[in-house]
Each structure stands twice: as C-alpha cells, then as structure tokens.
C-alpha cells in the first residue's frame, strides 16, 4: 500500500517538474506564438487588403480555394518537389555523415567543406545555381555533354524546372548531415566491436546496428524535411517566380503572392491553414509509424 502511494506521489512530483521545465516554452507559446497563429486563423474567415476594415466571408475563402486551379497546381508542384527531394537529401546526408564520422586528421576540414554550402544564404545560392544550370555554359550541362547527353533547358523548361529545384535542394544537405553525425557519435563502439568479433559483414552491421540506433535522428530528419520542403519559398521566389507557366509555383510562393502582391490577406491565411493541416497530417502519420521502426536507446519510448 505504501509503495503505491509513494509511486503516485512520485508521479505527481514528476508531473509538476515536467510542467516547470516546460514553463519557458509555454510562456513563449502563449505570448509570442499562439496569438499570431490564432489571429491568422481568424483572418482566414475574412476578406482583407490590409488597409480597409476586414469583411466577413466565413468559409468562402476555403470554398474558393478548392475551385482555384492555381491552388491545385501549387500543391502538385510542391508535392512533386518534396517527394523528390526528401529521400535524396536524407540518403545523401546519411552517406556523407558516415564518411565524416572518422577520427582521422583533418576530418574537420572535410566536414567544413561539406557543410559550407548550407552556410551560403538564399540569394547567393540562387545566383550560383542559375549559372550552374545555364543551358549552354552551366557546369551541369557541360558535364552531361561529356557523357554524351544533351542537357535540358532546366529552369526554362516546364518539365525540367522541378527536377532542377530538386537538384538544388541537394546543396543544403549540411544540416541533415550534422544531425546524423551527432547521432552516429552516440552509437556505442562496443556494439561494433562485438559485431566484428562475431564475424558480421559491413552490410549487416549497417542495417542491424547503425540504422536502428540512429533511427531517432532519421525520424527527425524526415519530419523536419517534410515540414521544410512543403514550405520552400526563397529559391522559387528569386529564381523563377513560379515560371515557366506556373511549373514552379510553390505553395508558399502562391501564398505570398496572394498576400503581398494581390493583397488578399484573408485568402492567403486560408491557404496557410490548409497547408498547416496537410503538414500536420503527414507528421502525425510519421510519428504514429515511428513506434514500429524507431528505436530509442533510452527506453522510455514516446
């Protein structure tokens, strides 16, 4: 009996502590985040150009969105981009992270070099890539011609503009690599040693030991990439502005246009919330599935 009381008292104590730990975040959420989020949700029920008083429209914005062909186009563009770039970036980031996980001299320089691309800000990257993707003089097409292929017009060809952006997304694998690297650090070397002693081959070691142990990082990178790639904006804004013929009209670009070019702030808020629901849905899916394949060394689970 007394142990039960002790357990429940401990549990309450733990709960109290938990909320205390969360206090800064909760204050931040209440004061800085929830207000604007709720404000924009409410805004989505109005028609507003930012100057005159908002006009109530109820769910009209949402209804109009479903009839808006550019909404569907931007959704298609963004989905294609995401499902193309996410697997590639994660794979690439993982591979490089494994390479960088050596304690050899000068590894620091290599890591820096591979991380460097992520450091350069949006506009410089855009300019760089416009040059790289130049149909005649760009490095990419020159390399393709060396192996006998005629490179496409990339940013000027409706069919190839999204693949161009996917290619560009590879450039920013740096943060994914870092997360994997930090995670690889946490894999106990004894496991590797034990496995080697047992005569396991590298392939098995990779799949049976490394992957499960870095699965928390993998989950992180997956969810983060989903959240990020569905909201991609800067590159599209600077390089193609949705062209050619809306073939690169990313969702957030369309949203931005509705807000700050057409000044239909209510409509763009509605667009934002639809995106929100989509991303939320995908994330919940990921999280729910994670109990099947994500292994936490800590053991407390989700």
């Amino acid at each position: 009996m007394s142990s039960k009381r002790k357990v429940s008292r401990l549990y309450l104590k733990e709960e109290r502590e938990a909320y205390l730990f969360l206090l800064p975040w909760m204050l931040g959420f209440i004061f800085f985040t929830s207000g604007p989020m709720i404000a924009s949700l409410i805004l989505s029920l109005f028609e507003w150009n930012g100057l005159t008083s908002p006009i109530w429209t109820g769910v009209n914005n949402y209804i109009n969105i479903f009839h808006d062909p550019l909404f569907w186009q931007s959704l298609k563009v963004t989905s294609l981009y995401s499902f193309g770039s996410i697997p590639i970036r994660i794979l690439f980031g993982l591979l490089i992270a494994i390479l960088m996980n050596q304690a050899i001299k000068g590894i620091g320089i290599f890591r820096t070099i591979y991380y460097l691309p992520s450091v350069v800000s949006g506009v410089a990257v855009a300019v760089l890539w416009r040059w790289l993707l130049n149909p005649d003089f760009g490095l990419i097409n020159i390399l393709l011609s060396k192996i006998g292929l005629q490179g496409p017009a990339w940013l000027y060809d409706e069919k190839w503009v999204i693949p161009a952006f996917i290619l560009m997304s590879l450039w920013s694998f740096g943060s994914i690599m870092i997360v994997f690297l930090a995670s690889l650090q946490g894999v106990p070397t004894e496991l590797y040693e034990a496995a080697k002693v047992d005569g396991a081959n590298p392939w098995n070691i990779f799949w049976k030991i490394t992957i499960p142990l870095i699965s928390p990082a993998l989950l992180f990178n997956l969810i983060n990439s989903i959240i990020g790639s569905f909201q991609v904006f800067t590159a599209g804004y600077i390089m193609t502005n949705g062209g050619p013929a809306n073939a690169s009209l990313f969702y957030v670009l369309y949203l931005y246009r509705n807000a700050f070019v057409y000044f239909q702030l209510g409509y763009s808020s509605a667009l934002a919330y639809i995106l929100f629901l989509i991303i939320l849905g995908l994330t919940i899916l990921m999280l729910k599935s994670s109990s099947a394949w994500v292994y936490y060394q800590g053991g407390i689970g989700r």
């Binding site: 100057l51 416009r130 940013l155 000027y156 060809d157 700050f260 057409y262």
Partner: protein
C-alpha cells in the same frame, strides 16, 4: 528544488540585463519629428541621407527619422499600416498607390498644390511625372515626385557600323524609325558569327514585363483596358497585332532570343538581364535608368534612340514619388519634406546620382545630368520621351491580378506555346471575373 529556484533567479536577472541593454534612452526635444521610409541599394540610401541632411539644415525645426527598408518594402509597410505606425512620408511606386489612395490612407495634396501652383507649371517641370499619382476620376494628386524614367532603344554602335547600317537616331531624324525599319535592322544584325549553326549575335531582346509589351500595344493604337476601365480590350485586333509582332521577333523572324537562349549568352549574370552588356545583342529596348549602369561599358560604343513607332510613339513612364500618410500628425512638416525632393538642391543631387531624369527641367537639361561623364550622345531622348509617355499601371482595383494573369499568358506566348490571338483570348477569359 533549490537549484531550480537559483536557475530561475539567474534567468530573471539575465532577462533584466537583456532588457536594460536594449532600452534606448530618449531625450525629449522640441523638434517636430517626421518618419520617412524608402527602399534602395547603398547608393540610393546614401542619396536619401544626403537629401535628408540638406533638408534638416534648411529646416532646423524638423527632424527626419529615416527608415530604410532593404527588401519586401510593401510587406513591411503593410504591417506598419495594420499596426497603425506607418511613416509620415513614404517613398512609393504606382502599383499599390491606387489601393492606398482609395482607402483614404494617403493624404490628397490639393490644398498644398493650390498654395504652391508653381509645381504644376509644365514649362518649368516635367509635370507628366504626376500622372501615375493622380486619381483619374477626382484628379487629386497624392504624391510629390523626384523625376521620371522612360524607355529607349539602347544600341551597340559598333555592330551597326560593322553591318554598314545607319544608326537608329539617323532613321529617326528622317522620321523613318518604325516597326518595319526596326525589323529590317535587327534582321541584318542577327548573325551566326562562327558558323556553328547557333546564333551568336542577336538583333534585339524581348522581356515579359507589362511596361515592355504595353508600349507596343499603345504604339499600334491599342490598349489593355478601354478608356473607362470597364472592359479588357487586349483581344482586339490592334493589341493582338502588337503582341504577335513581339512573338514574331522571337519565333518568326528569330531576331530575339528565347528565354533559354538569353540565358546562354549570359544575360542572367548581367544587371537586370540587360543584354547589351554581353556585347551579343545589338539593340535593347529598356528603361532609361539603365543609363547609369551602361556608363560602365568600355568594350564598345553605344547610344540610345526613341522607341520605334507604328501608328504613334508610345512608352511607359514611371518614377519615384513621396506619399504622405493621412494619419500623419505632422502633415505640414511632411509636405515640406516631401516637396523638398522637387527643389533645386535635392534635384541637383538626384541629377548627379544619375538614377532618374530630374523633375526640374532646367536641371534635367543642364550638363550635370545630360552631359554627365559617360552619358550617351543622344541622352536627351530620355527627356523627349516624357512627352509621349504614359503610366502602365492602371487605376483599377484588380490591376495587379490582371497584369499577373496577362504576364502568365504572355510567358506561354514567349515560350512559343500559343500565338498572340490565343494569348489575348485567354487573358480576356481569365480576367472576366475580375472586371465585374
């Protein structure tokens, strides 16, 4: 728990420090404060600061707080409007101005202009600069201006000489600079120099901006809207003919590169995609602010000429302007500042900076502007064009969206996917709901 408390205490102290560090002390003073916002690159910002300094020197009772906004200008201004703390004077462009004016958030300046009618004297000033900022129905002016930009044909003299062709200016002097002579000239100047089957030198260049293609439509006697702005008229024969001419330059006569071909000659790297810089494009129809950049050209000789005409001469005019918030608490002071940009001292600085044709005629025609170092021989074309220029920004509430739709369709036209008639038809169709 004791450790927790210490941590919270330290936390609060840290917060306090942070707050103290960041608090700025304001010493009260008796000057009238007005806030002014502008966008611009470092050179323009410098110019603004110098003008502000000159203004404050002449008006010691006013202090100007300068808010330079480097990018996303209207985004931030919109946020400021919503929060109610927008600046007193704002640098502005015509696109958003109409909405703002209709919403009552810009102060109409009639009473100020009535008290100072000299600004409307066309013999002294290029008063056409006010047109984009005049309400077409009430005729109220709601901004002061700094100058005007027009369009011109910029051309590579060396290429013309080599081809044995007279310069566009010479055609113009004989009143023979038209679409057909323009076509003749550009066809002769489009060459495959090294015989590899690919064109290396282009006669001209087209761009998908409203101010570019609108001019062609006007030159042919057509228009995007009808006079009362109740109907889209881009699908009428004259407008369609103009759009078709532009498309033909690229696909039928092949004197202008496609967007992809433009990239190949390196137009992506040059400022604003101004092909003339690459020394591979013979003529470029461009906005006249590019003169400042063009002064850098050392590899060949260049000059500028009027745009070719068809039925008439036409081009787009634009220019920066200074609007005053109707919620400003210091409108009198704001007006004094806004009009300062039109006064000789500021006009001279603007002329020296060379970014825009000054509003003041005497200064515009003076040597500090017209004959500034590196200026082309026919620089005055820039001033003359003001007489036949008109704004491409119509005062219709859905203008932005309409132009956006038109741009998308013309995008397809310039990709060769549809002809001008189809393009115009689709524009008319897609904008139908916006014209109610």
């Amino acid at each position: 728990m004791r450790k927790n408390r210490n941590i919270w205490r330290g936390f609060l102290i840290l917060m306090l420090l942070v707050t103290l560090l960041m608090t700025s002390t304001t010493i009260g003073n008796t000057k009238i404060k007005i806030r002014y916002s502008s966008w611009g690159d470092p050179a323009e910002l410098e110019l603004n600061k110098r003008i502000i300094a000159a203004f404050e020197a002449k008006n010691p009772d006013i202090e100007v707080e300068f808010i330079p906004i480097v990018e996303n200008y209207e985004d931030k201004i919109t946020a400021m409007y919503v929060a109610g703390n927008e600046p007193d004077v704002m640098y502005t462009s015509p696109t958003r101005a109409y909405d703002l004016f209709k919403s009552g958030l810009i102060e109409p300046l009639d009473s100020f202009f009535k008290a100072e009618p000299q600004w409307l004297d066309d013999s002294k000033y290029f008063t056409r600069a006010y047109i984009p900022y005049t309400d077409r129905e009430t005729r109220q002016i709601y901004a002061t201006v700094n100058g005007t930009n027009t369009w011109a044909v910029f051309y590579n003299k060396d290429m013309f000489t080599k081809a044995g062709l007279p310069y566009p200016n010479q055609y113009d002097e004989k009143n023979n600079w038209t679409w057909s002579t323009f076509l003749t000239v550009t066809r002769k100047l489009t060459k495959d120099l090294n015989g590899d089957g690919k064109i290396d030198q282009w006669g001209t260049q087209v761009q998908n901006t409203a101010r570019f293609w609108m001019a062609f439509i006007w030159q042919n006697g057509g228009d995007l809207f009808n006079k009362s702005l109740t109907e889209i008229t881009i699908d009428q024969p004259k407008a369609v003919e103009a759009l078709q001419f532009i498309q033909d330059l690229v696909y039928k006569y092949q004197v202008a590169p496609t967007p992809a071909q433009l990239e190949s000659i390196g137009a992506a790297q040059v400022p604003r995609g101004f092909g003339l810089f690459t020394n591979r494009v013979a003529t470029c129809i461009w906005q006249t602010y590019i003169v400042q950049d063009a002064k850098m050209i050392k590899d060949f000789k260049w000059d500028m000429a009027h745009l070719p005409k068809k039925v008439t001469r036409a081009c787009a005019i634009s220019g920066g302007a200074y609007r005053i918030s109707s919620r400003s608490k210091n409108k009198e002071a704001a007006w004094r500042f806004a009009k300062f940009f039109q006064e000789p001292e500021a006009q001279r600085m603007i002329a020296e900076a060379g970014l825009i044709t000054p509003f003041d005629r005497s200064i515009a025609y003076s040597d500090i502007f017209l004959k500034s170092p590196g200026a082309p021989e026919h620089h005055q074309v820039r001033l003359e064009a003001i007489e036949y220029g008109r704004p491409a920004e119509y005062q219709h509430k859905n203008y932005s969206k309409i132009v956006d739709i038109a741009t998308q369709e013309i995008d397809l036209m310039l990709l060769g996917k549809q002809d001008a008639k189809e393009t115009a038809r689709k524009i008319k169709l897609r904008t139908a709901s916006l014209m109610q």
